[in-house]
Symmetry: C2
């Protein structure tokens, strides 16, 4: 491997990381791009891209590109068709599924246990009243059983007696679910659901999968959480539903659209908790990401199988695997 392009979407690579990458490929030219121009300028000699930022712009000039390591878990927003046609290997980075799943369960429990109300009570300097809280949930639904959905099911298992999983195809956690529903039948189970967690990828077919009809099929005491893609939920419908007094609460780590100003009514919608796309974050995130990428590059150098390769179909099209997770 003679040319590497490094460009992560959030934080830039640390010097220590770049040094460790260089040690794995001693003769290679490693470019840490900090702009689109730098990325495109470096494209010609690049065999591997670590991070998918500016991928679309880089692709036309990157004749020697053989491997893209995304920093994302879901890759439906990437040009997987082009990559598959050019036989460029795409690998995902689902190593933060544990963090996202923990955040999802935190959001659900927050709403179920009245934490936002308790914080307001505390701010007033009073000991009570106790927040109004629903019974402990008996049935949870996890929509999307990709790496995040699977991690949610595992962690949720001792917290609720019954879990309904929803996915297009079998997953490793099906046996941990009491019921697994396919897209044809999942809505029929909604009236039984006390807490509904969305961990659905961003394929176009999932846009507004949770619309007003779905929200109204949930019981009035149910709690809804979204840590997947914002576009999966009809946000305007959710706000209407909450204003109408339906649902005990909702918590969103993703918004679509993100309000443009502080006056937007979304911020003050009753029984709505918003976290700023922080589900994937911990203070050691960059360290974990860099360690994972270094391990992947070492596998590539040693000729070992890469982890989390996005499968492609025989036709050169990516499988639907990526789209629904």
């Amino acid at each position: 491997m003679t040319g590497l392009l490094v460009m992560y979407s959030n934080d830039p690579p640390t010097p220590q990381h770049l040094a460790r990458l260089q040690a794995l490929v001693p003769g290679a030219r490693i470019v840490a791009a900090d702009s689109e121009a730098a990325a495109v300028g470096a494209a010609a000699g690049v065999e591997a891209m670590l991070g998918h930022r500016y991928l679309r712009q880089v692709l036309p000039r990157a004749d020697r590109l053989r491997w893209v390591q995304s920093t994302a878990s879901g890759v439906a927003h990437l040009p997987t068709d082009v990559l598959a046609a050019r036989r460029i290997v795409l690998t995902r980075c689902p190593i933060f599924a544990d963090t996202v799943a923990t955040h999802a369960i935190t959001l659900a429990l927050c709403m179920l246990r009245g934490i936002p109300d308790a914080l307001r009570t505390q701010a007033r300097g009073t000991w009570g009243p106790r927040p109004a809280v629903p019974p402990l949930p008996r049935t949870a639904m996890v929509v999307g059983l990709g790496s995040v959905g699977q991690a949610i099911v595992t962690r949720l298992r001792p917290l609720v007696p019954r879990i309904i999983g929803v996915a297009r195809r079998p997953s490793p956690v099906d046996a941990m679910c009491n019921d697994v529903r396919r897209p044809e039948t999942w809505q029929q189970a909604l009236p039984e659901v006390d807490v509904c967690l969305l961990a659905v990828g961003d394929g176009a077919e999932n846009r507004h999968l949770v619309d007003e009809r779905v929200l109204r099929l949930l019981p009035a005491h149910a709690v809804l959480v979204n840590v997947g893609r914002g576009s999966v939920l009809d946000q305007a419908a959710l706000l209407r539903t909450l204003h109408d007094g339906h649902l005990a609460g909702a918590a969103l780590d993703v918004l679509d659209p993100v309000p443009l100003n502080a006056d937007d009514p979304l911020w003050h919608t009753p029984r709505l908790l918003v976290t700023p796309k922080s589900a994937v974050f911990t203070s050691d995130r960059q360290t974990r990401l860099e360690r994972f990428v270094e391990e992947q590059l070492e596998r590539a150098v040693l000729g070992h199988t890469l982890q989390h390769v996005v499968p492609t179909t025989g036709s050169g099209q990516p499988s639907r695997e990526a789209a629904i997770r």
Copy 2:
């Protein structure tokens, strides 16, 4: 059974509940006391007390008393020595351990995932910044393995790779813990703990079990939760510790003392979340309590073994069972 005294600590019994109790003991006189005077006035003919409110005042006049059904899980604050000496059976009510454990885990996750900061950000109508959050916890410590501690361990198991249980004697969840510590050795494990959950009963020997020394032995990034008894924690020491920047956060559902006014600095201590003794509450709490008491009375009437009898030692003294849970 000819005389029953009903006096629960929180909500009064519903008429439906009283009717169902009466149906179980058709000939008996059932008094639902709403004051100390009413309770003491009814004491003479009482064979069973459902609820422990005014128990100390009732005892001297209740010559025929044979059974007290407490509404609490821990009964160390009750006159167990007098009850044991008079061979009055005392039964606990640990049926809300699931609720308290769920609340405890909610509080821990809230602090670990920066929810109070996210709520303040939301209130300002801004999308970010992301709250500063520690790495996902690797080691949790559960102090006290009574019914609540056991329920915490069960629910926490898939959320952390390592659980250290702390208890005076073996418990059914010891096998689910990676390490079980006794009072002689628990403090040595504190520097390894990322999240510490207190579910300790109110025996006098537990007062300020968690003092400033213990708090300082926890890592600076650790999170502390108390859902047991307020007296177990040296509250002033916790506030000092938080003000010094030690601990990533603390969440208390119990306070000792409870501040008398809204100006008390406790309410605004940094990185401190307070819930108003709501760990045991859900909207169906009274329904669940009444159903459990009815089942216990049915057992008593049928001569079956009562559930959750507080054991007494051969000497007529209650065992230490009650005190440390």
